[in-house]
């Protein structure tokens, strides 16, 4: 079993973690006509907004209660009330999702009570969907904010089906973790539909942040799952949760509406997808479409072609727990060693990561470990770019944020096809790295003399690397 440790340093250097409220806001972005609202000072929103915009290259709705120093001292009721009214009147949203921040949590604002009072005072809001999640910045991480928000959406919005209503066995709820991209969700949608199933994604970022061009300008999200669709999720035959972070939401769904769930901790890799496809075959009662039999073959072949480049690689990975577990397991299954693993927050999956120790830490930790353990593949989000340059190792960007490359919203990791493409991308990085940094020289294999060593790697592993 893997040990999970937290370093005892006072100063976080090069943060890997992002804050919980924007993870919460991210979940609200997967709802149609939504306006996420951070209850805090305007910087809390502005930083999050900039991150989302730079990652997706999309307009992103995100508002702030704009707490001033004085408002913070006096309590934020008026700011919350004004914000909700302003958004309600101007943006005409279908739902407002509110996340607290460090400022308002330190102050102890009771937003649930505020909302009750606001509904009483403004009858037009009596039935309007206002969903509040408590997400202090000084606790937990991005992924936790997402997890809490989705669970909360299920808790507040999903209605238990009336006794006489029949479940629709073809309807499937999909609860994706925040490590899946809009591209991943579209891939899953296609797969489920190919089995004759009717999936509803909560949240559905593919509807809102997939990069489509709307006909008109809207101040709220331009797609995603509608509130009415969430309400009726209780009538589905099954819930599929992806990533351990979604267990809470799936359990809430089951408790509230009696929908059974199956949790897939991973959807990247051959075996996880075999299990997934077999499950769909089972619940749909439909034969497995030829397309997926072929895709399975293609993935197997991709693994054959790529294992020369991936096997033996020493991976340093920094990611939120579910993404870390998913991608590192896939690479481990192809012969890579997980030499350094750093994550942001606690999670049950960390114990199953195929390494000795997972550190809850920052990118400084990851860089130091990668250097000490001679890692030769770095996977983390875009903030790892400085470390990658110093380490001079192949760098694959995964996770959020990815602001220095385009197409973040369409990077795939799920399904046979997604895994296949991911494997190709990573293997190609290795090939390029060998061409650029590890060409053999007359001195490559010479007896060890410090002066003869070239580059970063030791002379011993050089010949191994020149296969293929």
């Amino acid at each position: 079993m893997t040990i999970v440790t937290a370093p005892k340093k006072a100063c976080v250097v090069n943060p890997l973690k992002m804050s919980q409220p924007i993870g919460g806001a991210f979940a609200f972005l997967g709802l149609r006509g939504a306006m996420p609202l951070l209850h805090g000072s305007q910087g809390c929103t502005s930083f999050g907004l900039t991150l989302f915009v730079r990652h997706f290259k999309e307009a992103v709705p995100l508002q702030t209660t704009a707490m001033s120093e004085v408002a913070t001292v006096l309590g934020g009721y008026e700011n919350v009330e004004q914000s909700i009214l302003n958004i309600y009147n101007r943006a005409k949203p279908e739902i407002i999702g509110i996340c607290s921040t460090g400022v308002t949590e330190t102050n102890g604002d009771d937003v649930d009570a505020y909302i009750k009072l606001i509904r009483d005072r403004h009858p037009q809001l009596a039935k309007f969907p206002l969903v509040y999640v408590s997400t202090p910045d000084f606790k937990d991480a991005f992924q936790d904010g997402w997890e809490k928000t989705v669970a909360r959406l299920v808790e507040v919005l999903v209605e238990p089906p009336a006794v006489e209503t029949e479940r629709d066995p073809a309807r499937v709820n999909v609860l994706p973790g925040c490590h899946l991209t809009p591209g991943d969700l579209d891939e899953l949608r296609t797969i489920l539909e190919d089995f004759g199933l009717k999936p509803s994604f909560l949240p559905d970022l593919a509807g809102s942040l997939d990069g489509h061009i709307p006909d008109d300008f809207t101040p709220t999200t331009i797609g995603g799952i509608g509130v009415d669709d969430v309400v009726s999720m209780g009538r589905a035959g099954w819930t599929i949760a992806i990533g351990a972070q979604m267990r809470r939401a799936a359990e809430t769904m089951q408790a509230k509406a009696g929908v059974p769930f199956r949790l897939f901790e991973r959807l990247c890799g051959l075996i996880p997808n075999d299990q997934f496809i077999a499950f769909l075959n089972e619940i749909s009662g439909r034969p497995i479409p030829l397309k997926y039999r072929r895709q399975r073959g293609q993935l197997a072949d991709a693994m054959l072609d790529a294992h020369f480049h991936i096997a033996g690689r020493r991976l340093a990975i920094g990611a939120e727990p579910d993404l870390l577990f998913d991608v590192s397991s896939m690479l481990h299954e192809m012969g890579a060693q997980i030499a350094a693993a750093v994550t942001t927050t606690q999670s049950p999956v960390l114990e199953h990561v195929k390494t000795n120790e997972v550190l809850i830490g920052d990118l400084e930790d990851l860089e130091e470990l990668a250097k000490a353990r001679a890692c030769d593949l770095l996977i983390t989000h875009s903030h790892g770019r400085q470390a990658a340059a110093r380490l001079n190792v192949p760098f694959y960007r995964a996770g959020f944020p990815m602001f220095d490359r385009i197409g973040a919203g369409h990077q795939l990791s799920v399904g046979y096809r997604g895994t296949r493409d991911l494997i190709f991308d990573i293997a190609n990085l290795m090939i390029a790295d060998r061409e650029e940094n590890h060409q053999p020289t007359p001195d490559t294999w010479r007896s060890p003399m410090p002066a003869c060593r070239s580059g970063r790697h030791s002379f011993i592993d050089a010949p191994e690397r020149s296969i293929a």
Binding site: C11, N14, K17, A59, S68, L85
Partner: protein
């Protein structure tokens, strides 16, 4: 906290700001920023502003004291460039947790400073206060003072927690911190009569280096740049400069003015965006330096450089001017740099249809008026929907703005150019102007736009006759609704008798002037046949107001 509110009051009292000088005492106390509107606010906080202003100091470790959000969500996101040190791009934060909130974060902050000194040993450490530690009363000034003494290294408190106000206030508070703790604390190795300070220049995309070669050529030394590609020692000894230029509008006016007050360094407000502005700024620098004792030939040499550079840049821009003629640009920046960019775009031959002035001072607005004429369309606070409409209706051909509003333009399939801090290209000085023009040209004339504006063949409105007809009718109806005179003309133009082409107006006039009451009468007074149009004429006769007394008219006849 009391020292912070004092600093804020001090900043609000800025006498160098013309806008401020015109205010009453009470107004001034309220500060120079409008109250933020909860639920419809945009833009960064004071902490953000302080970080923007100071992070370009390259050999300084920037430590953010607060929960993860403040640094974790924002680090390494500026396009400033460094000629050497890279420590400024490293993200340092205390990542305060619940325990710190309960017991106070001062200890953690102190340890964090020690760790940075031990591991990275930077020239100096800037410690940024944020909302949460400000609320729980962490005294960063005291911690910084203690750490400074203990480690023998400048540890500078930057007291600008997010909730005290917007970005612009934060930049000024950052300036206050420099004035209080940094400027004047060291002496330069040597001085020359050609030493200047640049204040408020952040070296985004390395744009300072578009101008620096000209300074080098003239022998002008940038003693200190606050803060682009800045070095701690240079700023600490910047009080020995002979003159200063305030580059980025009013963001750090307090620094410029107080340095003039304390050290007698005269300053002017200038810009290197645009040809005319670049030349004016060079001239002004030369003039101030000569006034302060530099050899007089500097002026002549400067004029020679200006003449050469201007000739060069005009020649380079000339081919674009005809291409840009009639092209209209919408400029949406934070407003700070509006007037200088306005000048630049006009020199390239673009017509400006509007510019934002949300954060501009009164003086900035005056300058814009000067540039764009009295009827300049100054946009105080344009909603994205309005921007979108302006572009969609093709009232503008290109939008220049910061990253956050880019999709408003792009999703309307209109060209857009980034002119804020995240941009890739440098647009300063004469070379920068040419680059800007090139980029605008590339954006405007990309053949892609034409394809993108086409609909998919299956919902191509242009070729769908029915939709086209509906659209035309709608457009006409809208026009008519807007103009009563046009509405009446249109109404009267309606054909009643198709055989002889008699319209409603003619028949109405005949009925009114002759007091007609029957179809027979109408037929006699007009060309209307009264056959197939019999019913229509009957309807008119019924609908005509009886108020025109036919008897009287007939009598008059």
């Amino acid at each position: 906290m009391s020292s912070l509110s004092a600093a804020i009051q001090d900043v609000f009292n800025e006498p160098g700001c013309a806008k401020n000088a015109n205010k009453s005492e009470a107004e001034r106390k309220k500060g120079c920023t409008k109250q933020l509107q909860p639920g419809s606010a945009a833009g960064g906080c004071a902490f953000d502003g302080a970080k923007i202003a100071l992070q370009p100091f390259t050999d300084v470790a920037h430590l953010v004291h607060g929960p993860i959000a403040c640094e974790g969500n924002s680090w390494d996101n500026r396009g400033a460039a460094s000629s050497g040190a890279s420590i400024w791009r490293t993200g340092f934060t205390t990542d305060m947790n619940e325990t710190d909130i309960v017991f106070g974060g001062e200890k953690r902050l102190y340890h964090a400073i020690r760790e940075i000194v031990e591991k990275y040993n930077p020239t100096a450490i800037f410690v940024y206060q944020t909302c949460v530690p400000a609320m729980i009363g962490d005294d960063i000034n005291a911690v910084c003072k203690a750490a400074s003494q203990k480690f023998g290294k400048p540890v500078i408190p930057i007291n600008s927690p997010g909730f005290v106000g917007p970005k612009s206030l934060g930049s000024k508070l950052a300036g206050e911190a420099l004035l209080e703790h940094v400027i004047g604390t060291e002496e330069p190795d040597h001085t020359t009569p050609y030493d200047i300070n640049l204040i408020g220049e952040y070296n985004l995309s390395g744009e300072l280096w578009q101008v620096k070669p000209l300074f080098d050529e003239l022998g002008i030394r940038i003693l200190s740049c606050i803060s682009g590609d800045g070095k701690y020692r240079e700023v600490a000894s910047s009080h020995r400069a002979r003159a200063a230029m305030m580059v980025c509008s009013k963001a750090m006016i307090n620094v410029a003015r107080k340095m003039e007050e304390r050290y007698g360094i005269p300053f002017f407000e200038g810009s290197f965006y645009g040809i005319q502005d670049s030349s004016d700024s060079l001239r002004e620098i030369a003039r101030l330096l000569v006034e302060r004792g530099a050899p007089e030939d500097l002026i002549e040499r400067t004029e020679a450089v200006i003449a050469r550079e201007e000739a060069r840049v005009w020649a380079a821009i000339e081919p674009y001017k005809p291409r840009f003629s009639g092209k209209r640009a919408l400029l949406i920046t934070g407003g700070v740099k509006s007037w200088s960019v306005v000048a630049a775009l006009q020199e390239a031959g673009l017509e400006l249809i509007g510019t934002s002035v949300k954060k501009s001072t009164k003086e900035d607005k005056e300058r814009i008026k000067e540039r764009m004429g009295q009827d300049a369309h100054m946009i105080e606070d344009m909603k994205p929907r309005e921007m979108y409409k302006m572009l969609k209706d093709a009232k503008a051909d290109i939008m220049l703005s910061g990253g956050k509003s880019q999709f408003v333009a792009l999703k309307a399939a209109m060209p857009w150019l980034d002119i804020n801090q995240e941009r890739y290209h440098a647009y300063m000085g004469y070379v920068g102007m040419v680059k800007l023009v090139e980029e605008i040209d590339k954006a405007l004339f990309n053949p892609m736009w034409e394809q993108l504006r086409r609909s998919a063949p299956w919902d191509d409105t242009a070729n769908n006759r029915q939709l086209k007809a509906i659209a035309q009718t709608d457009a006409l109806a809208a026009e008519i609704a807007a103009d009563p005179a046009l509405a009446d003309t249109t109404r009267r133009a309606k054909k009643i008798c198709f055989c002889k082409e008699v319209n409603l107006g003619t028949i109405e006039d005949a009925i009114r002037s002759h007091g007609l009451t029957s179809i027979e009468a109408v037929r006699r007074h007009t060309d209307a046949v009264g056959g197939c149009c019999k019913r229509r004429i009957e309807d008119i006769l019924v609908a005509m107001p009886v108020s025109s007394p036919p008897a009287m008219l007939q009598a008059a006849e």
